[in-house]
Symmetry: none
Subunit: 221 residues, 2 copies
DNA sequence: CTTTCGGCGATGCTGCCGCGATGCGCCGCA
DNA sequence: TGCGGCGCATCGCGGCAGCATCGCCGAAAG
């Protein structure tokens, strides 16, 4: 398993590389954005660990360029400033997961494994839960094979819930994911959005856990 | 949610405490490093806000001592000297996040929430005692495999008792854990809650120790 | 301009949770 | 041995938080 680590801070890069190598991966290191893009484009990696603050070309730009070309290799984004808006930006740019600094190496390993496994399981990373299927590349949603039109926000809500299928997601986490700023409970935006998705896809897709959050059941298979 | 604030500057500590309490947390304050270590070691906090410059025992030493003992509670480190080397030092010592002074209270709140959520999602193993199982991801409780619906408070009560299975938990400790506002015994909230959990899960799950507290038996295996 | 989207306030409903009242069992005490 | 105090169980009720739904409107996109 080859992993590309893109990180300009030498000390952090060395730490990550040591950890990954101890876990049995083969690690290539890169510090410059442009160079990183080239290597990710021409060589074959099981995954990329990508820092956002880079010389040459910004990490987000590298990621977007890969995605624009159709490169679908798993990318785990690191960022020093773990604000939610940045996280949304990273995910929107096509990151498979996001890890805010500081992090524990154990967590990096766990998430990296998850990302690789996910990409290995289905080459086309389509999410499915019950009768609902999501094709993230086309941004299309089908229920029992019948396509349904969702607005961008509705799509993001559903995708986030299905990405975390089997887990109760607090409404505050949803609110932060959809629009980073607003923390205080001053609107019912999430509830309205859930209602709209339910009307379009069916009421039984998203389950309400009063006082906890919302839940999309994971496939029993 | 109980938070331990370790900060020797009285004014700053008061500010932080006021902010956290306004956000709904229950705050314990500590100024001495040695004392802070003891409280963090013996009591149950959702997170710790830890200043580095302390009398008695240095903040980093406190943190390292917790980690050396295997205490995994989330720690948010504050420091007046926001140098990068110090930050690395704090992270290496096992801090979950680092916040250089001066900071905005909003940012403290945001990071604290992130730290708590991360620890809740990651470090929550599935609990089991007798026929009762708790799935923290789905916030769901099953008895002999049959799911039972619990309200948030009921869930927290049961989770706390099962986390401390095999130990008699005083009801005052339960009351403080559920919501520390009410100091002295002026209500029977805990007793009512225990009764409701019993009615939903079975009377023999939670045992009463008159005059001492409540007990969930640990698995004999 | 038309249309869609997303946010907001209003309203109603369900069920959570706190509280007082009452009852029961255990203990100490005269 | 009867009595009263204490700790806990149980019940019912009311306030209100949490959520669903509706309708409106400004903004942005086509």
């Amino acid at each position: 398993m080859r992993i590309l680590v893109v990180e300009d801070d030498v000390k952090i890069a060395a730490d990550i590389a040591a950890t990954l190598e101890a876990a049995g991966y083969v690690v290539d290191r890169e510090t410059d954005g442009e160079e990183a893009w080239f290597r990710g484009d021409t060589e074959d990696y099981a995954a990329v660990v990508l820092d956002l603050g880079l010389p040459g070309m910004d990490g987000l730009a590298v990621l977007k360029r890969w995605r624009a070309e159709g490169r679908r290799l798993p990318v785990l984004v690191l960022s020093a400033r773990g604000t939610w808006s940045e996280r949304v930006e990273g995910i929107d740019a096509g990151a498979d997961d996001y890890l805010p600094k500081p992090f524990h190496m154990d967590e990096l390993l766990a998430r990296l494994r998850a990302v690789i496994r996910r990409s290995a399981g289905h080459a086309a990373p389509a999410l499915a839960a019950g009768p609902v299927r999501i094709d993230p590349r086309q941004m299309r949603v089908t229920v029992d094979g019948v396509p349904r039109a969702l607005s961008p926000q509705e799509y993001r809500l559903l995708a986030y819930l299905m990405l975390h299928a089997g887990r109760v997601v607090p409404q505050q986490e949803l609110a932060e994911h959809l629009q980073g700023a607003h923390d205080e409970r001053e609107s019912n935006a999430v509830e309205v959005l859930v209602g709209r998705v339910r009307r379009k896809l069916g009421a039984d897709i998203i389950e309400t856990r009063r006082g906890f959050g919302y839940l999309v059941a994971a496939d029993a298979s």
